[in-house]
Each structure stands twice: as structure tokens, then as C-alpha cells.
């Protein structure tokens, strides 16, 4: 695989109205790696993800996915990029009026012309992957929070995308299910060589899955650390970073 960047973010400035959330953020994600975005609540991780998948247009800067600059490309090129990515939103974002099976079949119906029975098989396969087999005909409103997360993950995986964006895939899950999701993430990463961009806070997850992390900070509105998690835990010069990885609380000022 080599170290070939698949996602490049250059001098990204993200703004909501007047509020600058991210100020000149640049980094690269390499093909096949598990890349984790960290940072305190409200520092702009979800915002970064939304800009990376082209849901928001940056005030300035560029995002390139698989050699396509999604901030400037036309709709056709964007459609092609979207086919290669899968997204799990922080709130799962399952369509409430559709059953789980219909939710997961949605991208499959759009991008393939498989028969109904074949789609059913793929759907139950994906649901089995996230341990939700048997829940095909349930509506999202009939599921628990963690089940919705897993169903959202199944939908993101529907087309075995080249790049997966997961916004807090394990938040709100019990430790066993979290560990299973982590394993699933590792498995997907190996079996279909998917590149993963994951937002998470869970230290256990980070040490288990992350190959490289970046840490965002609300004050500086940018990246304050970048690298391997074990390395950062021991050797980072930034006290905030060491604090995060070692789970120290803020010193009482």
C-alpha cells in the first residue's frame, strides 16, 4: 500500500456565520490507515468531518479525496466520490420512516441493480456484522441508542466503501459492544482495505485501533498534536495532550 495520501486537507478554514471553528487546519490521511480525530467536546471534530465529506463548504482551503478536490468539483465528480465513502453520523441519522433493512438497502438500491433476494442477503449480512440480525423489520424508533449506532454503521458499510467516516462509533455503548465494534473496525480495515477516519474519545479504542491521530483544540482552533497515540502519551511536549492520553483532570487553578 505504501504511504500514499488518500485524503488531503489543506489550510481548511471552517466557519459557521462569524464563528471560526477551525482555522487553517492541514493534514493528510494515508491509504488504508485508521486515522483518529480527537479533541474535547465542541472543538469542531464533527465540523471537520462534515467539511471533509463536502456537506459544508469551507470558507477557504481545500479538501481532496482520492484526487478529487471536493470543494471545487462539479456534482458528477462529487457523486463519484460519495460512492466511495461511507459515513456514520454522530446521531446515527437513520431514516425514521424506513425499517432497518430498508435503511441499509437504500445505498445498495441506488448504486447497484442486484435482485431483491440478493439485496436481502447483503442486508442481513451487514446486520449480522453489527450483531443486529433479526431486526430487519424494526423501525429506528424501536431501537436502543446503541443499536441505532450499530445500524448506522451497517448502513455506512453497505457498499464496502473505500473510505469510512465514523463519528463516535462507540459512544454510548457498553464496553463489550465497544470492543466488538473496535474489532469490527480493525477487521473491515484489513479485509476490504478501507481507510478509516474516526472521531472518538474512548482511550481504550484509541490505543486499540488508531494508527495515527490528530488532536484538535478549541482555543487554537487547529491541530495541536499529530502522531502515534502511544508516542503522544509518553512524549508529547504539549501538557494538554499528555493530560488527555493519561486521563488527568484539569489542574484546579
Amino acid at each position: 500500500m505504501g504511504k500514499e495520501p488518500i485524503i488531503q486537507v489543506e489550510n481548511l478554514v471552517a466557519q459557521y456565520g462569524e464563528d471560526v471553528i477551525l482555522d487553517h487546519v492541514s493534514f493528510e490521511v494515508f491509504t488504508g490507515e485508521i486515522f483518529v480525530v480527537l479533541g474535547g467536546s465542541g472543538c469542531g471534530k464533527s465540523t471537520l468531518l462534515r467539511h471533509m465529506i463536502g456537506l459544508e463548504t469551507p470558507s477557504s482551503g481545500n479538501v481532496t479525496i482520492d484526487k478529487v478536490n471536493i470543494t471545487t468539483c462539479d456534482d458528477h465528480a462529487r457523486y463519484d466520490v460519495l460512492r466511495k465513502i461511507g459515513v456514520l453520523f454522530q446521531s446515527s441519522a437513520l431514516i425514521g420512516s424506513m425499517t432497518l433493512a430498508e435503511n441499509i438497502a437504500l445505498p445498495i438500491l441506488e448504486y447497484t441493480s442486484l435482485s431483491k433476494s440478493a439485496i436481502e442477503k447483503i442486508v442481513s449480512l451487514k446486520l449480522t456484522m453489527v450483531d443486529l440480525n433479526g431486526y430487519e423489520n424494526y423501525f429506528p424508533s424501536e431501537l436502543s441508542g446503541g443499536m441505532k449506532k450499530r445500524a448506522g454503521l451497517a448502513r455506512a458499510l453497505a457498499l464496502n466503501p473505500k473510505i469510512l467516516f465514523l463519528d463516535e462509533p462507540t459512544a454510548g455503548l457498553d464496553p463489550i459492544t465497544s470492543a466488538e465494534i473496535d474489532e469490527l473496525v480493525l477487521h473491515i480495515n484489513k479485509s476490504i482495505d478501507a481507510t478509516m477516519v474516526i472521531v472518538t474519545h474512548e482511550l481504550d479504542s484509541i490505543f486499540m485501533i488508531a494508527q495515527r491521530v490528530i488532536m484538535l483544540d478549541k482555543q487554537t482552533k487547529g491541530v495541536i498534536a499529530q502522531g502515534n497515540p502511544e508516542d503522544l502519551k509518553e512524549n508529547s511536549l504539549n501538557p494538554l495532550v499528555r493530560q488527555f492520553f493519561n486521563r488527568w483532570s484539569k489542574p484546579l487553578a
Binding site: L114, K121, S141, H187
Partner: protein
């Protein structure tokens, strides 16, 4: 779909070694893009050649995922689901990672919950009866909570959220004023015009003023205003409360110790009760203005004679009658809108349904109550 126009990233050759024994060599990627084409190609090939033994060679496959596994599973099924006539030749073990992880046989278990579409008539009938009885129960408990909220507000006036009430008054009343005025002006204009065609024949031009005044103040003004408010604000109540309901915001309010009905319904109801009669009043004025335009410019009445005829016709009783009706309509609109919001269950489409049903039910109830009023009046 754009992808079907593209060439698939995959192709295959068929080699026949001996009679009835085929080997198919697949080249390229076996992913979601090639899966359906491969399945179709295999099924036509198996149907036309009906091989006794089939080997699928994967030595040149560069990518394989569960869609590839689906293709192999389909091929196996097409070959009659027998193991002895079908072989996968996979020298590079490209399928191992995937096939170790999935098991298509285990997937054929039926799902726990049968989807409702296949239910019979009787089941559907029973279910809809249950839904209706549940709705009735919600309605009764909702009306009860509204009643209690009002008692609460009377005994503890501070429990009313004044700022919400003011915001609602602005939304229901001030923002609706332009459209209500315009519609009423045109209505008065049309009424005067149509009636003048008849009344002119008898030289009774001046009664156009009476007709517009009575017709608007006691009947059309309250109804028109109520229908506009139901469409603008009744639907908004249902949608706001409905989306709060499905995103657990109502539960959050309850858990924080708020009474959701008091918190959400009371401000909207009080705002409607205050604002709708005022809107009706404006509607009456604008309709009379519309009539005045016809009277003065078409019927050559003087402005003073038109106005004095109008004032003569409008008794105190007519005006309070109209105001009382619009009060009742305001209660109907706000109650129905909020009730439909609280009855929302499910997803985003349920919010849409709640809004629709709020408008339909309130317009129906408005007309129904208007008929009651008409009957009541004839026995007065």
C-alpha cells in the same frame, strides 16, 4: 443511476475442459459494481449451457468482498445448491478473509418481526381500532392536562411562560396580519360586487353595505381568519411539538419536572385566544373596506352613507357573536394542533402527518362548530 453506464471493473472467460465441465476465470474486482452483472452473466450461462460441473477460478481477482461472496453464493444456488458440482479455485486465498467471517446459510433464518404489509384485513381492522382507542385515550388525558394547566395558571400565574406566549402571539397574530387583511379585503370586494349585481336591479344599492357588514362580522370574518390561522399556526404547533416528541425533547422536559402540556400548550393556547379575535376584527375592517371600494366606485354611494349604513347594521350583538365564535375557533385550533403534536409517534413522516391532520381536523371542527352556532342562533 450513473454507474451502470460505466464498464464494470471485472470480466470473465469460460473454458470448457471436457463435456459439461466448465471453468470460469474471473478477472478484476468482485465488488458491488460488478456483482449484479456477474450474477446475471452466470445465470444466463448456467441456463443456456447447464454444466454438470462448474469451477470458478479466482486466480486473477484483485479485490473480493462480501458482494463477491454473494456472487459465489448465487452461483452455488444456481447450480442446485449441491457441493459436489461446484468448486472455487482460489490459489491466492483471496476469499479466506471474507468467507471466514460470513456464513450465508445462517442468514436464511426468518426475521423476528413480520412486516405489517402482509397482515390480513381483520388484523389491520383490529390494529386500527387499537390505534384509535389509544388516540382517544391520549386525547382525553390531554384535555384533562389542559384543564389542570389552566387551573394551575389561575392559581399560580407565574407558571405561565410569558415570553413564549408573547412570541406565539407575534407568530400567530402579527405575522398573519398581512395575509388575513389581503384575503378579507378581496373577500369584501367580491361579496360587494356579486351582491350589487342583484341588489342594483331593485335599486337597493345601499344594502350592499349591510350585507357585507353582517356577512363578514358574524360569519365569514371569523371563519376565514380561523382557516388561515389553522393553516399557518395549527400546523406549526403540530409540527413543532411533534418533532420535539420524536426527538425525546418532551421526555426531557418531563424528566426535568416540567409539565409538557403546561409548558408547550398553555402559551400557544392563550396566545391564540387573545390574538385570533383581534385578527378577526382586522379581517372585518378590511372586508368592509373592500366593500366600500365597490360601493363608492361602482355604485356611486358616498363614503359617509356607506359607513353609516354599516354602523347601523352592526349591532353590539353581532359584534360579540363574531368575537365569541372566533374565541371558540382559537380554542379549537390550538387544542387540535397541540394534541396532534403530542400524538406523534415514529419518524419524520409522522411529523408531516401530524401537521396535515392538525389542519384537516381543525378546519372540519371549525365548520362543524360554525353550524352549531348557526342552529343555536336560529333558536335564540
Amino acid at each position: 443511476m450513473m454507474n451502470t453506464s460505466k464498464l464494470p471493473s471485472c470480466s470473465f472467460d469460460i473454458v470448457e475442459k471436457e463435456r459439461g465441465a466448465l471453468t470460469v476465470h474471473i478477472k478484476g474486482k468482485m465488488d458491488f459494481q460488478s456483482a449484479s452483472l456477474l450474477i446475471k452473466a452466470f445465470s444466463t450461462m448456467i441456463k443456456s449451457r447447464s454444466p454438470k460441473f462448474l469451477t470458478v477460478g479466482l486466480e486473477q481477482v484483485t479485490y473480493f468482498d462480501d458482494y463477491g461472496a454473494l456472487v459465489l453464493d448465487e452461483v452455488k444456488r444456481l447450480m442446485g445448491n449441491l457441493n459436489h458440482n461446484f468448486k472455487i479455485d482460489d490459489p491466492h486465498h483471496i476469499t479466506d478473509k471474507i468467507l471466514s467471517f460470513i456464513n450465508f446459510e445462517s442468514l436464511n433464518q426468518p426475521a423476528d418481526k413480520i412486516s405489517g404489509k402482509t397482515d390480513g384485513f381483520v388484523v389491520n381492522l383490529g390494529q386500527s381500532a387499537l390505534v384509535h382507542s389509544a388516540d382517544t385515550r391520549t386525547m382525553i388525558s390531554f384535555l384533562g392536562s389542559v384543564f389542570l394547566s389552566f387551573i394551575r395558571i389561575l392559581t399560580h400565574p407565574k407558571s405561565l411562560r410569558i415570553s413564549d406566549t408573547l412570541v406565539s402571539m407575534e407568530k400567530i397574530g402579527v405575522n398573519a396580519l398581512p395575509i388575513v387583511s389581503l384575503i378579507s379585503f378581496l373577500l369584501g370586494f367580491v361579496m360587494a360586487f356579486m351582491s350589487s349585481l342583484q341588489l342594483q336591479q331593485f335599486g337597493a344599492n345601499i344594502y350592499v353595505a349591510s350585507l357585507v357588514a353582517i356577512g363578514m362580522v358574524s360569519e365569514l370574518g371569523p371563519i376565514m381568519t380561523a382557516i388561515v390561522v389553522a393553516g399557518r399556526s395549527g400546523s406549526a404547533f403540530a409540527a413543532e411539538i411533534g418533532s420535539m416528541k420524536i426527538s425525546e425533547e418532551i421526555d426531557a422536559l418531563t424528566s426535568m419536572g416540567f409539565e409538557p402540556v403546561l409548558f408547550l400548550t398553555a402559551p400557544r393556547m392563550i396566545a391564540s385566544i387573545i390574538v385570533v379575535p383581534i385578527l378577526t376584527f382586522f379581517s372585518d375592517i378590511f372586508a368592509i373596506l373592500g366593500g366600500l371600494v365597490i360601493g363608492v366606485f361602482m355604485l356611486n354611494l358616498t363614503m359617509t352613507s356607506y359607513i353609516s349604513q354599516t354602523l347601523e347594521t352592526l349591532t353590539f350583538f353581532e359584534i360579540t357573536w363574531g368575537a365569541m365564535k372566533s374565541f371558540v375557533f382559537a380554542v379549537i385550533i390550538s387544542l387540535v394542533g397541540c394534541l396532534r403534536g403530542f400524538q406523534t409517534r415514529g419518524g419524520a413522516d409522522a411529523v408531516g402527518n401530524a401537521a396535515t391532520s392538525a389542519v384537516v381536523s381543525s378546519i372540519f371542527l371549525i365548520i362543524l362548530f360554525d353550524s352549531f352556532f348557526a342552529i343555536l342562533r336560529s333558536y335564540w
